[in-house]
């Protein structure tokens, strides 16, 4: 029997409830107020009182209102039909909600996450008498471009025997598709959907593997220099206006993965809308289907209730883990984890906990670490491999990376793509700072080669600094050429125009070919007599290369410009710089 209680206090989105029955931490309850049922979660228990955060606006609640507990933790529905959906932080489908309540999100309305009417073509893969355990596949249904595995619910511990399995045919998610028996002989009816508490990681795999294979993002700077691995983690901290959103959208669009889950956590509603309206129009080159069919959006935007903002990242990662169980590569983008941390801070403040740094709660670090640890490349029990890659944006107060959320995140991620205000002010996009960012993963291109170009960049930046002190006239021509090379590589290779249809996404092959050209120019021994001449020459080279960036790969135009660039460089080149043979060889430049 579930417990009941009464409201005894309201403070913002936290209520105090008197309850004498048995209740559990993080248990979900409903406040009955003005004929509405408002979802809430227990966040502290003390004697006969429980403190709960409400997933809704708390206006109108009175002392003495009834509270009904459910005995369950906050959970999401898992089953076919998740792809292409847009949910709020509690997995309410927003379009259906709009059909029901109109323009505004009325509190206390909760809908089924999965369509109960839709029929799916089920094919069984196990037979009567077979032994199964949690996450074992009972059958499959086609969903978008994927084979969606219908699995034994993750919460089923121990071994079971299949007693009955539905024959091939059309079923709705709530129809019975199997009966399994536990060791004690009790029967359990299974449907194509089940629930899983969002705050618990799904661990139904046989082992975790080391992420090594790069996740191609088609962003040159990331793929070549700051790679992210499938099953790895990365963060994108940056001050406002530095291009977090555009970068995040580029990744969700072009990343080479099966499924993308976007958690819009406490950010602008407008950005979600862009994704929502554009993705159905775009094609996923991998499957030929619309991009929306590989995407799930969890939208808990900044004006929606704070408590469900906290829940939204967990909802998102649970869905990601679910699809990983099908041997798929899933990318989860959480934008922004700072808003999630702030939601924790708000609640911690209302609970009157002793504040840590910048009033964030003391458990901030462990909570962030636990979240990113839900990423990973895993071998499933049937031998197939799936991954969840997590990328979180961070919005540090004042753009200062020394703040608690950025620091806690940097400790646990494998790649740091730090955005810089300096670069975004100069309209250098993506504004990832090439020299301050780092990645622990392996690139498409051997590190000895990228290292060579990186060195040129680093020297170029040093010379640039130096010139600010000693002036151009105090700089040697040799140094000045390094400086110009660095500026050139930055302008044509590091920077990428995400609004140009061609330049927005650069596939692996093109990056390989392009990077060879870059290496050749970086290592070239160029002959000039004076600086202005060199500057003009590089301006011309830059222009030609930018033209190349905008032309379709291997088109006639592309080949023509490429030849032109090579000829242009040859005119000035007098052999290669000393100590460059190794790199030229590694880069496979003739």
């Amino acid at each position: 029997m579930s417990a009941k209680g009464k409201v005894s206090g309201v403070n913002g989105n936290m209520i105090t409830v008197e309850v004498s029955d048995k209740i559990a931490m993080n248990e979900v309850g409903y406040v009955l107020s003005n004929g509405k049922r408002l979802k809430s979660e227990i966040i502290r228990i003390n004697g006969d009182t429980a403190q709960m955060q409400i997933y809704e606006i708390s206006g109108g609640i009175k002392v003495g209102d009834d509270v009904e507990f459910t005995g369950e933790m906050l959970a999401v529905e898992l089953g076919p039909g998740l792809l292409g959906q847009i949910y709020d932080g509690l997995q309410n489908p927003l379009p259906e909600l709009a059909a029901r309540t109109g323009f505004f999100l009325e509190p206390g309305v909760y809908l089924d996450a999965l369509d109960r009417q839709k029929k799916w073509a089920f094919t069984p893969v196990v037979g009567k008498g077979e032994t199964v355990a949690a996450a074992d596949t009972l059958g499959t249904v086609p969903e978008a471009a994927f084979t969606h595995r219908i699995m034994v619910p993750f919460s089923f511990l121990g071994e079971y025997t299949v007693d009955w399995i539905a024959p091939e045919g059309e079923y709705a998610v709530a129809d019975k598709i199997a009966v399994i028996k536990d060791a004690g002989g009790n029967s359990h009816d299974l449907t194509m959907m089940f629930e899983w508490p969002v705050k618990r990681a799904v661990k139904c795999y046989s082992e975790r593997l080391k992420p090594v294979k790069p996740m191609v993002t088609q962003v040159r700077l990331i793929d070549t220099f700051l790679p992210v691995a499938l099953g790895g983690t990365f963060c994108i901290p940056g001050p406002f206006g530095a291009g977090k959103t555009v970068l995040q959208q580029t990744l969700s669009r072009h990343a080479d993965v099966d499924i993308v889950i976007i958690a819009a956590c406490g950010e602008r509603a407008g950005e979600v809308v862009e994704t929502l309206k554009e993705f159905p129009e775009l094609t996923d080159p991998k499957t030929g289907r619309s991009l929306m069919e590989r995407t799930v959006i969890i939208a808990n935007t900044s004006s929606m209730p704070v408590a469900s903002r906290e829940a939204s990242v967990y909802t998102a990662v649970t869905l990601a883990e679910y699809y990983r169980q099908m041997g798929l590569n899933v990318l989860l983008i959480a934008d922004s984890t700072s808003r999630w941390a702030q939601a924790m801070r708000e609640m911690s403040g209302r609970l009157e906990e002793i504040p840590g740094d910048e009033a964030f709660p003391a458990y901030l670090e462990s909570t962030i670490a636990a979240f990113y640890e839900r990423a990973g490349l895993v071998r499933l029990k049937d031998g197939s491999v799936g991954s969840v890659t997590i990328g979180g944006t961070v919005s540090p107060a004042g753009g200062n990376f020394d703040e608690p959320v950025t620091q806690a995140t940097l400790k646990v991620v494998g790649a740091f793509l730090g955005l810089s205000r300096e670069r975004s002010d100069a309209r250098k996009y993506p504004a990832i700072h090439p020299l301050e960012s780092w990645s622990k993963y392996k690139s498409l291109i051997p590190s000895s080669v990228t290292g060579y170009v990186y060195d040129v960049m680093r020297k170029s930046a040093e010379i640039d600094q130096m010139m600010k002190v000693v002036g151009e006239e105090g700089t040697s021509l040799e140094d000045f050429l390094i400086y110009l090379k660095g500026e050139y590589v930055d302008a044509v290779y590091f920077q990428q125009n995400s609004f140009d249809p061609v330049d927005a996404a650069v596939p692996t092959e093109r990056q390989h070919r392009y990077f060879k050209l870059i290496v050749r120019i970086a290592a070239a021994n160029l002959k000039f007599t004076e600086k202005d001449e060199a500057r003009r020459w590089f301006a011309g080279l830059r222009l030609k290369t930018l033209d190349l960036n905008g032309t379709a790969y291997l088109s006639d135009e592309f080949l023509r410009i490429e030849k032109e660039i090579e000829a242009f460089v040859e005119e000035r080149r007098d052999g290669y710089l000393p100590h460059s043979e190794a790199v030229l060889k590694a880069a496979e430049v003739k």
Binding site: G60, L105, E346
Partner: protein
């Protein structure tokens, strides 16, 4: 039957506590003091102890004053009769017109369903090149104007109010100097815009709590008009005063402050207001321009910092000009591809060159010898500042683009601009 409570248990700042039953969170009450009556809002319930925030402030409230609960949350009248009128932060008339009480609507209502939003696609032309050309304002955008005190932000706001192509304007003033209030009133009157304007004004001498209501009232009314198909421009000045009022209240309530004394939920508080900006499918829109003064010209101050993360860009007002660096309209990409084909290119190229000009200036100030390239940049920088950045320039977008090409041709060779060959051929001014 309204019950009247005549014993106030505690008074702290603007917050009073009474013992009462059957009171809802967020409900309004009327308190009668020897100075008159004031509204108050329930901000905390703890068993039978009810804490209220008194709109007129706690000053002079006596423990024997009476409190009557009204049984409803804060509401405001909504009708066409509002047009041309001026009200206070609690919705009382500030002009000599009658009080309005018909068709009351609840303020600070639920959030707009993201699934019902549409992608913004309409440019709001202002005639200011730094906005139209470089950081285009888009219908349903929310943009702050970051500035330090003393900058002509209210003048800029008033000019946008007069020139922007919208159906109506709602002006929310928070902590406004009385002179500024009169300035707005006169400017809009002279420009003939008063009849399409509604003003909710809290001046610096009014009670702090009323300051908190201004954005909610303004936006609630705007929302209703937008649903009726009106394109509404909401001008808020100054949101830093709003945030400071929040700080004051939260400190009085003994909340743990997070950053420089501001409450931990500052971001959520600002966001729930700014997010009211919307373009509604099949109806009107709300565009928000909000002045945010930066104490000490510090953009990392919590108020501008949190605001920047919420809004879709920002205009930096500095030295009487909109700074090209740091100013950003995130939505400009939605519209500037459809204006003219050279719009984006000119925008990027001119800013990049202006950035190089700034570097040259630095070089020059350090006494280094200048190259031929530097001389070109110096000439360009001067032209850019006087013909583009100068706020008195008032030309349509297309003219500004032509002006840009002229400026480039006057200062540079074609290839030095970094512009794609194709566009250069089409737009580069022919000699003679």
């Amino acid at each position: 039957m309204d019950k009247i409570y005549s014993k106030i248990e505690s008074i702290s700042g603007n917050v009073i506590t009474v013992k009462a039953k059957n009171v809802a969170y967020g409900e309004l009450a009327e308190i009668t003091t020897s100075f008159g009556t004031s509204l108050a809002e329930v901000i905390k319930l703890d068993r039978d102890m009810v804490s209220l925030q008194v709109f007129a402030g706690g000053r002079g409230v006596s423990t024997g004053d009476s409190v009557r609960f009204l049984g409803n949350p804060m509401r405001v009248s909504f009708s066409d009769n509002l047009l041309g009128r001026v009200f206070t932060g609690s919705g009382e008339p500030r002009d000599n017109g009658p009080a309005l009480s018909e068709n009351l609507i609840t303020i600070a209502g639920p959030s707009f369903n993201p699934a019902k939003r549409i992608v913004p696609s309409k440019i709001v032309r202002t005639g200011i090149p730094m906005i139209d050309l470089f950081n285009t304002l888009v219908e349903s955008q929310k943009l702050p104007i970051f500035s330090i005190s003393g900058e002509p932000y209210n003048e800029l706001l008033a000019r946008i109010a007069l020139q922007a192509e919208v159906d109506m304007i709602i002006l929310g003033g928070m902590g406004l100097k009385y002179d500024d209030y009169l300035y707005f009133k006169e400017t809009l009157e002279e420009g003939g815009a008063l009849s399409r304007t509604i003003m909710y004004i809290h001046t610096a001498s009014d009670p702090t709590v009323e300051c908190l209501m201004v954005p909610d009232i303004s936006l609630a009314v705007a929302e209703k008009f937008a649903l009726q198909g009106k394109r509404v421009l909401v001008l808020l000045t100054d949101m830093t005063n709003f945030a400071d009022a929040k700080k004051e209240i939260s400190i009085t309530q003994e909340q743990v402050p997070s950053n420089r004394g501001y409450p931990g939920d500052l971001y959520s508080q600002l966001a729930s207001r700014y997010e009211k900006a919307v373009d509604i499918d099949g109806a009107g829109s709300i565009t928000i321009l909000a002045v945010t003064t930066m104490p000490g010209d510090d953009v990392t101050h919590p108020v501008p910092d949190n605001t920047g993360y919420i809004t879709e860009g920002q205009y930096y007002l500095k030295g009487g000009r909109i700074e090209p660096f740091g100013s950003l309209s995130r939505l400009k990409q939605q519209v500037n591809a459809k204006t003219r084909e050279d719009h984006r290119t000119i925008m990027d190229a001119m800013i990049k060159l202006y950035a190089s000009y700034k570097d040259t200036l630095e070089k020059k100030s350090m006494g280094f010898s200048l190259s031929g390239w530097d001389e070109k940049l110096l000439k360009y920088g001067y032209l850019f500042e006087s013909k583009m950045m100068n706020l008195s320039v008032n030309i349509p977008l297309e003219e500004a683009l032509d002006e840009g090409w002229k400026m480039l041709a006057e200062c540079f060779d074609k290839q030095e601009t970094g512009i794609k060959t194709e566009l250069i051929e089409k737009f580069w001014p022919k000699e003679g």
